[in-house]
Symmetry: C2
Subunit: 351 residues, 2 copies
């Protein structure tokens, strides 16, 4: 058969080499490596020396195949550069590392089809969990495929984790780590209403994804709770992008209804809003108040510094890993909603 050294003529040091050199059997080496079995001190020393001399490291694939767990966590997100995602990724990585795992990462750029493909390829890797981050598609077919995926992972002893996205339903074997999207928007809108604002534009609405939908929901509920009617013309659709905030604001200034405050769906969008306002000669917050959502680092560097909603991204990532890995331990809930809260800075003035 194929006793080829390797794809390209290489031969790695294996456990067999170590065993031979140490003058022991292969399982003995395995035992000192695992450290979960009694081994004579003298033997252990010999083995350890052989390992050092040969500069041996285990083959993670062989180990995984032989039944020991994989020690990997799969992470799927839109991209790595957005501060929002990179902070979640950091949390995932830190917790994974703390639990002795490596992260397998793939990005989707927000494309639902690509996500499905990526997720399938993650299944091949047999990680301890597959963590999906960020806004999900609302399409039925997508939800159905994702549900099947959750079951497939479950059957394989792995776990699907939905991080920052809504549950797929009670019967789906998945861990959900959300944050209070609606509540943060409610609190922020209430804050603006309390400051006397009555015409608050919401920039970046969308009914294609859950996140903006929920944020608009909080915005609407706050109005209701204050008895202030919502002017639908003030809710303007858009993407999660700086340019989107810029264009929307410009349109609003030129053709839109009056407004005294802008609630940007994200901080990134808020930067575009700020830019458009500055171009139009409107002062913030004297003429127009502006708020964002997410509290990414740039929020504190803007002029004026941005009042926004803090989302615990790092904690989201950490919790995702923790819950997935300890799901069999008692007292480990599999659906948590982390809190959000307002961070008051300088971009809001009372009306």
């Amino acid at each position: 058969m194929a006793r080829r050294p390797s794809a390209d003529g290489r031969r790695r040091t294996t456990i067999k080499d170590v065993a031979t050199r140490a003058g022991v059997s292969v399982p003995t080496v395995s035992r000192v490596l695992a450290g979960n079995y009694p081994v004579a001190t003298a033997t252990r020393t010999k083995v350890l020396r052989a390992i050092r001399e040969l500069d041996y490291v285990v083959n993670a694939h062989a180990r995984a195949l032989a039944g020991a767990t994989t020690k990997t966590i799969a992470l799927v997100l839109h991209d790595i550069i957005s501060p929002f995602f990179s902070h979640i990724a950091q949390g995932v990585e830190e917790q994974a590392a703390a639990e002795g795992r490596v992260c397998l990462v793939r990005t989707t750029h927000g494309d639902a089809d690509r996500e499905l493909a990526v997720v399938e390829m993650m299944r091949e890797q047999h990680g301890d969990a597959v963590i999906l981050v960020g806004g999900a598609s609302q399409r039925d077919e997508y939800r159905e495929r994702m549900t099947r995926f959750a079951h497939a992972l479950d059957d394989a002893g792995s776990r699907l984790v939905l991080c920052g996205r809504p549950s797929l339903g009670p019967d789906v074997p998945a861990t959900v780590v959300e944050y209070d999207n609606e509540g943060g928007a409610f609190a922020m809108t209430s804050y603006l209403l309390s400051a006397g604002h009555r015409r608050i534009a919401f920039v970046g609405a969308s009914d294609m994804a859950s996140t903006p939908t929920e944020r608009v929901g909080g915005y609407v509920r706050a109005h209701e709770s204050f008895g202030v009617p919502v002017d639908p013309a003030l809710i303007v659709p858009g993407e999660f992008a700086r340019s989107s905030g810029h264009h929307a604001t410009r349109r609003l200034l030129e053709h839109g209804p009056e407004f005294t405050a802008v609630f940007a769906v994200t901080d990134i969008v808020a930067t575009g809003v700020l830019h458009a306002l500055r171009e139009a000669g409107r002062r913030v917050p004297e003429d127009v108040s502006v708020v964002g959502y997410d509290d990414i680092p740039v929020a504190a560097e803007l002029t004026p510094t941005l009042t926004t909603v803090r989302v615990p991204q790092l904690e989201l990532g950490r919790t995702a890993v923790r819950l997935a890995l300890h799901r069999h331990e008692p007292g480990t809930g599999q659906h948590v909603v982390l809190g959000t809260h307002i961070v008051v800075r300088d971009s809001v003035a009372p009306r």
Copy 2:
């Protein structure tokens, strides 16, 4: 022996199940999967159907063990949240994905010892390459260990890639993808000198890592080339942190020599510089000019917008993967230096 279904009573669908269901042998299934061998159309159809019905995916570990390549790229960086690193990571991920690979990610938080440990654990994973990103330790022992690591990877048919850090020497089997750190600093300092500045503070120097050392080098060389003496008191040490820029600038303002411009070692440090200047009532750029390095997104959002040195982070990451994967193809150099250039914005005024 251990015909245990799996660690926790699960049984995944294997190639054998597919073969049985399709009424063919295991190798046949393998062949339709690989698609690199003639298979009768009827057979292929049967197999494909069985795969679909059973919702089968290959076991990446078994495949890796059996000799086929791993299809993974290991990535080691300080952290994922710094824009500088996350952009490189994004480039790596994109190119890796384009070449059909997943990324294995681990962070070190700039700790050299941890890096050595992480790198060792990446060796276990048998990826196609191990990409090390960002400032390296200058310690001899570290360099020696890293050199050994490069050889170990090379013996295993993998590749060490140093991304944004200096080469370990000509005999070390490693790919190096740098950017012109010194040149960017030279160009930026020349720009300030041309604008009439003669007392330029350099904030964030350090001789513990290569990056700041090279940037100071460019700063010094520009002075020499303009025949302007360098005042050592203007070169102030510090970390790559906002607070570091803030403190250094405050000390400079209180006890330091006169200066009309500040060259911050990174954009992040520049935000701290700007903050300290604002606190002290100095206007930028009217009273003091400020420049940064890296051109991370926040640079364009600061007030004033920051003149800085563009580093092609995405391209750095992409190139790292590309060179490592295609190192055996002719015309693929294994040491490239990507260019840097000044991005002029609003934070510099002529003197």
